[in-house]
């Protein structure tokens, strides 16, 4: 019987299908009332952890999220997918806006130690900030080995084999547990949270704690100066012949 325990970090982000709008004061993107959902890569991470549990290689899956009260919805989705219990690290809305990878990494590192988990799963990056840093920073803080951009994960006793998607192709690593794994797109296809599972998930426990309880300081050393929309894409210009094209390109100094 496996005694391994897994912690999965999930992030609540603006849904990928929503057309976002920058706030008029340029301080950020408008989030009020906008549809949010679990970060797609986090879904893949949850799915992988739950599959390991179903294969009886992992005993317990804990889902954690840092942020304001609405994060509980995201944790509930993870519970509906099969996680056993949840932890909500409550951060007030105003402070949550300045929450970056380093602060979250500190929280996750403390939690991983406190819960004595063997595996920490995350999505490779969040679709709102595209940082791709939290998993790596957490591994660094914990001094644990990391397998990032995982497209296949196999448990082998007290080690884990991770196949990574890298620029040149695929790289396979064998890591000693405990370790950090971040999920890439091809790792798996996440299941739908069906309604009966959502109903069961309502009975599962979500523990609410404050970052102070973990002894983590969330002050950020990064401040956002402005957020702007990308420049409007100008209409193209049609030309008749190749000679015209070359002339136009020379005109704008491209060749």
């Amino acid at each position: 019987m496996a005694e391994l325990r897994a912690l999965v970090a999930v992030k609540r982000v603006i849904d990928f299908a929503v057309k976002i709008r920058v706030k008029p004061d340029k301080s950020g993107v408008a989030t009020d009332g906008v549809k949010h959902s679990m970060n797609p890569f986090c879904e893949i991470a949850v799915e992988e952890a739950v599959r390991l549990k179903e294969k009886k290689l992992v005993k317990e899956v804990i889902a954690v999220s840092c942020g304001p009260a609405q994060c509980q919805e995201t944790i509930r989705t993870a519970l509906a997918m099969g996680a056993d219990r949840g932890i909500h690290v409550e951060v007030p809305a105003a402070q949550a806006e300045s929450l970056g990878p380093l602060q979250v990494a500190r929280v996750l590192a403390k939690l991983a130690e406190k819960e004595k988990v063997d595996l920490l799963f995350l999505g490779k990056q969040a679709i709102d900030d595209d940082c791709n840093q939290t998993g790596q920073m957490t591994a660094g803080l914990l001094d644990w080995p990391q397998g990032t951009f995982a497209s296949q994960v196999t448990l082998e006793g007290d080690k884990i084999k991770v196949e990574r998607e890298i620029d040149g192709g695929l790289e396979t690593l064998r890591l000693k547990l405990p370790s950090v794994v971040t999920a890439d797109l091809r790792l798996n296809e996440p299941r739908y949270a069906t309604l009966p599972n959502i109903m069961k998930a309502k009975k599962k426990k979500i523990e609410v704690i404050k970052p102070g309880d973990l002894g983590v300081d969330l002050t950020s050393k990064v401040s956002v100066i402005s957020v702007e929309e990308p420049p409007q894409r100008l209409a193209g210009v049609k030309v008749e012949t190749t000679e015209d094209l070359v002339a136009k390109l020379k005109e704008v100094g491209r060749i």
């Binding site: 849904d15 709008r21 009332g33 906008v34 549809k35 296809e189 069906t194 009966p196």
Partner: protein
């Protein structure tokens, strides 16, 4: 709404499909039938092609789970939420326990809500007398009310005398999506189980024929009023102003008009839209493009200049009034809100009556659930009191008073005849005339063949005030899981080209506000085929209503799909 029998016998079941199908198990679907008819298969939905006959489903494990509740409500709009909230309020008052489950196809409450909207707070006040303390988003009381008739170049103001349906004194301009969202939070706080992202796809029956419950969508299968929100230049912003027009660009035989409401919620925001009666006759009419050209009218354009369009949506409104309300109760359930249709047509307000109908339903149901000697002939409860109570309420009185205004627009003078009728019979006589005018038949029968009508020349969008269809659809945030059968099903795949295109020049490519229907040339040979871009659908239901062949049947797609309106 579906209701259970209080004592020992059959409770209501809410059955769920949980199909866990791996993509690898199903072979590629390429079921084209050939030989005589070369109609490519368009519809694959199981409501048209049942699974029992489809070889690909043999041996697939279809698990169904069941859950019971006391009351199941389909749709978390103003009516559904009012009913849920009222039930829980009554339960708390009487110290009883009533399990209320609410399913909603949108991914979050309010995401499929679209209105305008000008709210008469009468029903809302009854439900939440302390809404202000609770922070309900009614932030913009109406301060100014204007009505005008537009001609191509001019604007003729019409005075709004108190007592006319267009008078909005005491009302609020709200973003209905936000209000619905707030109501959803209240409902959850009261203990209603709210399940967004789940579409009710099927009704289930007891053996005695009464309604037993609903089944939600399968997951994991392998395939008229268009409003907009604009941020405008602050100098043009007049918070609290309500503007309505009739006339240009619609002719007098095409019922419809526009609204433009100035919201007061921090930013200079306006909600504007065009309503087009779907009993229009010209198949070349495109409600979307009428809306676009309306914005260019000299009296409208200045408000929008310098502004930015931030949201778009569309919805069909049920405006049949009293004459079109169906039977409201059946064993096992009842109908509330805009499904049966309680909109006060000349006021273009239906939210208050929807909420009231929900409240009344809750009260009638609670009385039955609570009554000591409960006997029912059927397993599903038949709450006939609901219809009786509704008919005794102010909803019915209000609808009765305005019942003849819409049908009066069918005469020779068209909409202007309707206005004259309103002036005499509504304003003076308050709808007391003894006759009830009838509607002229179904909307889908009203289209004239294309050869009898003139095509309408619409101006090209200028990208500043008017826009093209696809960029507007993108703003609605609509999205559907692409790997599902198209939810716009055709009873007969050959009719679109053989009938709709040949006789009516394919009106579906014009009345759909999301560009779902396209007639594309066949790859080989001459002729066209209908392409259904189901992913664009904004769930307005116009196609099901207006298709002259009544061949299109809109069924609900996988829950969670559809538009992502934010405070529309």
């Amino acid at each position: 709404m579906l209701v259970r029998l209080a004592k020992l016998s059959c409770p209501v079941y809410q059955c769920f499909h949980a199909l866990k199908i791996k993509k690898k198990c199903l072979p590629l679907c390429a079921t084209r039938w050939s030989s005589t008819s070369v109609v490519p298969q368009i519809t694959t939905h199981y409501t048209v092609h049942p699974r029992e006959k489809d070889k690909r489903w043999e041996g697939v494990n279809m698990e169904r789970f069941a859950e019971e509740a006391d009351v199941v409500i389909v749709g978390a709009g103003p009516a559904g939420l009012s009913a849920a909230i009222r039930l829980k309020q009554l339960a708390a008052e009487h110290g009883k326990d009533v399990r209320v489950c609410l399913v909603e196809k949108a991914a979050q409450i309010g995401a499929h809500t679209l209105s305008g909207a000008c709210l008469d707070p009468v029903a809302f006040n009854e439900l939440f007398p302390d809404w202000k303390e609770k922070g309900a988003p009614l932030n913009t009381p109406v301060t100014e009310d204007r009505f005008a008739i537009l001609t191509e170049k001019h604007r003729i103001p019409v005075p709004i005398l108190p007592g006319l349906p267009m008078n909005n004194h005491g009302n609020y301009i709200v973003r209905l999506g936000h209000l619905v969202s707030w109501m959803g939070e209240q409902a959850e706080a009261l203990g209603v189980e709210v399940y967004p992202g789940y579409a009710a796809a099927e009704v289930l029956y007891h053996e005695d024929g009464s309604v037993k419950g609903i089944a939600t969508n399968d997951v994991g299968i392998q395939k008229d009023g268009a409003p907009k929100l604009w941020i405008i230049d602050e100098k043009k912003w007049k918070p609290g102003r309500v503007d309505h027009t009739v006339g240009w660009p619609l002719d007098r035989h095409t019922y419809g008009g526009s609204f433009l409401y100035h919201l007061n919620e921090g930013e200079p925001l306006v909600a504007l839209g065009l309503v087009v009666g779907l009993d229009y006759q010209n198949p070349y009419l495109s409600p979307f493009r009428e809306f676009q050209r309306w914005k260019h009218h000299p009296s409208i354009r200045p408000t929008l200049e310098g502004g930015k369009r931030i949201a778009y949506g569309a919805r069909a409104l049920n405006e049949g009034g009293l004459q079109s309300i169906p039977k409201l109760t059946f064993p096992g359930g009842l109908l509330i809100g805009c499904s049966p249709g309680f909109m006060n047509v000349p006021k273009i307000k239906g939210t208050h009556t929807a909420m009231k109908s929900g409240s009344l339903a809750a009260e009638s149901i609670f009385n039955q659930l609570n009554s000591e000697n409960l006997q029912s002939k059927t397993a599903g409860l038949h709450v006939t009191e609901y219809e009786e109570n509704l008919k005794k309420s102010w909803v019915w009185k209000e609808l009765h008073a305005v019942r003849n205004i819409r049908p009066s627009c069918h005469g020779i003078l068209g909409v202007y005849g309707g206005m004259i009728y309103t002036g005499i019979f509504y304003w003076i006589l308050r709808g007391m005339e003894p006759w009830t005018l009838k509607h002229k038949g179904s909307d889908s029968d009203r289209l004239k063949p294309a050869k009898d009508c003139t095509p309408i020349e619409y101006p090209k969008p200028d990208g500043q005030i008017s826009f093209d269809l696809l960029s507007s659809v993108a703003l609605s945030g609509t999205n559907h899981e692409h790997d599902q059968p198209a939810h716009l099903t055709l009873k007969d795949d050959s009719i679109p080209v053989n009938r709709n295109l040949s006789i009516y020049d394919g009106p579906e490519q014009r009345f759909c506000p999301a560009g779902v229907y396209e007639f594309v040339p066949l790859e080989q040979g001459d002729g066209f085929r209908l392409q259904i871009n189901a992913q664009n659908c904004v769930h307005c239901k116009t196609c099901d209503i207006k298709d002259p062949s009544q061949n299109i049947n809109w069924v609900v797609p996988e829950g969670g799909g559809g538009p992502a309106y934010n405070g529309m």
